[in-house]
């Protein structure tokens, strides 16, 4: 039997029906057509499906869709403000902090969660915070620089 879930996704009220075993990642992707969150491992090890659930960074592959009842979900699709990219997105673009792009939404969401907690992180703090996100293309350095650059920019504003 399907369960009816009412939730908020990227600031908009959203409801869906799901089976109890369905992950939030699958519902986001397959039912709500929010395919920006990616499946990299389905075991919470790679961070490609990172979303923010009630202000907390989580892997959507480890959350059951039924657990989303009454929760606030933020995904990559809600990160830009309309046409205006989030400062992290702008800097990733400028700093070439992505290659194949499949881990990128997860990195952006994770970095956003970090900067919402701490706008003045050290390089080490950024590296450890993002250690839950795997990337096989970039070697991480450009991502780390980009997050640090963004933090600095946002502090100045």
């Amino acid at each position: 039997m399907k369960t009816h879930i009412t939730t908020t996704v990227n600031g908009e009220p959203e409801e869906f029906l799901c089976e109890t075993e369905q992950t939030l990642l699958d519902i986001l992707r397959d039912e709500l057509n929010l395919t920006g969150s990616k499946e990299g491992c389905s075991s919470g090890d790679c961070g490609a499906c990172s979303i923010i659930l009630n202000g907390r960074l989580v892997c959507a592959c480890l959350v059951l869709a039924v657990e989303a009842e009454g929760q606030k979900i933020e995904t990559i699709e809600g990160m830009a403000d309309g046409e205006e990219l989030h400062p992290l997105q702008k800097n990733f673009l400028k700093d070439a902090a992505l290659q194949c792009g499949i881990c990128t939404p997860g990195f952006l969401i994770a970095a956003k969660a970090l900067l919402e907690k701490n706008l003045n992180p050290t390089e080490k703090e950024v590296r450890y915070w993002l250690a839950g996100n795997l990337c096989r293309c970039t070697g991480y350095d450009k991502i780390i620089r980009s997050v640090l650059n963004t933090a600095e920019e946002m502090r100045r504003k």
Binding site: L34, T35, S37, K38, Q99, G101, R127, A131, D141
Partner: protein, 804 residues
Amino acid sequence: MSTRIFGERVQRNNDERLLTGGGRYVDDIPLSGALHVAFVRSPFARAQIISIDTSIAKEHPGVIKVYTYKDIGNLDVEMPLLIPHPALHSPKTQRPLAHDDVFYVGQTVVMVVAIDRYVAEDAARLVDVEYSDPFNCSIEIEEAVLDDAPLVHPDVPNNVAAHCIQVSGNPDKAFQEAEHYTKLKVRVDRSTAAPMECRAVAARFDAVSGELTVWDGTQAPISVRGGIASIFNLDEDKVRVIAPDVGGGFGQKVLLFYPDELLVPFAAMDLDRPVKYIEDRTENFLGSTQERTQIHDVELAATKDGVVLGLKDNFLHDTGAFIPYGIAVAQVASTGILGPYRIPNSRVEYKAIYTPIVPVTPYRGCGRPHACFAIERAMDQLADELGLDRFEVRRRNLISEDEFPYERPNLLFADGLAVIYDSGQYAKALDMIIEKINLDEFNTQQKAAAQEGKYLGLGLSFYVEATGIGPYEGGHIKVHPITGKVYVNTGLTTQGQGHETVFAQIVADQLGVSPEDVILVEGDTGAFDWGVATYASRAAVVSGNAIHLAAQKARKIVLDAAGNMLEASVDDLELGGGEVRVRGSDVSVSLAAVATACNPLRYAFNEAAQAATQFAPAARSDEPALGDGRAPGVETTAYYAPPHATWAYGVHAAIVEVDPGLCSIDIKRYICVHDCGNMINPTIVEGQVMGGVAQGMGGAFYERVEFDSEGNPRNANFMDFLVPYATEVSQIELHHIETPSPLNPLGVKGVGEAGTIPVAPVIASAIEDALKPFGIKRLHHVPLSPNSIYEALQESGGDFNSKL
């Protein structure tokens, strides 16, 4: 004339989509009503299938069909051997679904198709496959090759798939004349590419048009198309293969065919419904190909001054249970072993060995990291044995600038062509890295650190990489008559390397447009279907030059037409800002208008089109609308086939601090000097090198796919198989040298794999240097773990603990 865009740090022009969640990878393609595939995989390395009972699975609600080998008709055949070779005397490839025997844990046995992935996976567990008792097996290549070893394939003695000997010069004479011999045995363990997007295939068959569309996260869409058409006996034009956004490949996705690449299209046609298979991470470890295990026995014959006269290498290469990609990896290793060194006499012999584990095909580096580890560890050892400086020994053996092109007589590379190094400035690279390291400062620091009980070490390694091999690629260019935007196609495809940007730069220079107005569509046989694939660091070299040639042809068409339109001599025209201008005047015509005018029109649908209709003054003549041999529009195609590989190279160094108590390693500095010829875009080159170095660090420290003695994978997930995290990869200092390749018009060399190649020997060299005070034994086995360093220290004898 605008400034040259080639060589500029142009911002990657495909990223905004990817940054906002708009990437379209196979699993993101909306396919309404798609069915999902799950596989039943072998739980044994070697066993015989006694029976398969699918009855319960078939009854499971939501299951559409369950396929065994009996249900796949003509597909029940051994899949193609992609690259045959005379030395590959016993090639074995697998069937899409196991028929009698299984050959590795993870081999596909049964395919379940169901309404969704959950149901398909549940039902796969309900299939009852009865196996014989598992057969004895040997997963260690040194054991597998022995006379009494259990056989993976009963008709392949000693498990030897291929045996190859390559000799250059006169190695026996060199070994007789030498004054010093350096012998060592090195080993690189099994690894896997682990792209962040696992493999994925989706297919839809249109029964009305008879067209089959396949979305495949592959590096080789055109080749997949050719294979599918051939195996299913369809016209090529009825099969369209699209590699959409692909989440990394690193070689794993160049193999065709994986069973799913045939079975998913088969099911889509059989069931007349869209079907998709999204591999999960565990399956990527079980069913997608891996690489790396080689054991090299190397001997150098040298003079007392450290000049290497000859090399002998005898190595074993693990090819896993099958060898669908031929011996490419071993062949690349067998020629790469000589590195950037002159070494005029060599004898390299190898055997490719079957083991009942996941098959082996190229992974970023493709034999080069193994060969580089062997020769660079040998050079360090030679230096130590002769009491010479490691840098100096290398200097005495480097091929010098005036020796290019440098041919290694009688050696054949993996493409079957001669080994001819085309250009390089090896000594300059060595000088540069010495300068960047600041050796004097390091020596001081090392001594000072030792006073405080800290152990600093310096390591280095050269590498060479034969890149940009053939056979060929094409470039197709069309200037859009309405917008003036330039559409570009090539046959190979990207997995994130930035083709959209670098190819746009090449075209922008010829047609005077902004790179943003160049739109690349690749990896889609519906857009362009001549070419091969992305492998061997070849896209910039082979497709890049093809696109360059096509752009030159387009430029000529544009100039000729604009000359007519502006009533000016072609010599007086310049292209820039999306228009053609008469130099020094304000007389110009837009590229869009030129493209429109080049297409004789009947209907005037806009202002520009009015100028191109039959009754427009410019077009009126008694001649046919298109002259003899002319095609409409500004549209060109060109192909580029390299004469042979172009050789990139570089040298890396690292300064590490080792804590001998914890056996932990801190990389203080990592420095690269590299040369990939003329750089199209330094930002993109940096990204390639840095990503490569990160993967190399994985190979140096972490990435080891482990199997137990019965062939069961022990770390088939990201919790246990470690790849470097953001916390592990240090900052990388990058320095460029640009020695143009004389082989191609753009003077470029490939860079995709370069970064990965020398990292393991750099790290091993640095750790050895740091732990010299302990008389540490040589580090000849990667990946290096704290355990292996601890063991090496224990074996170093005596006073290890007292020195802590």
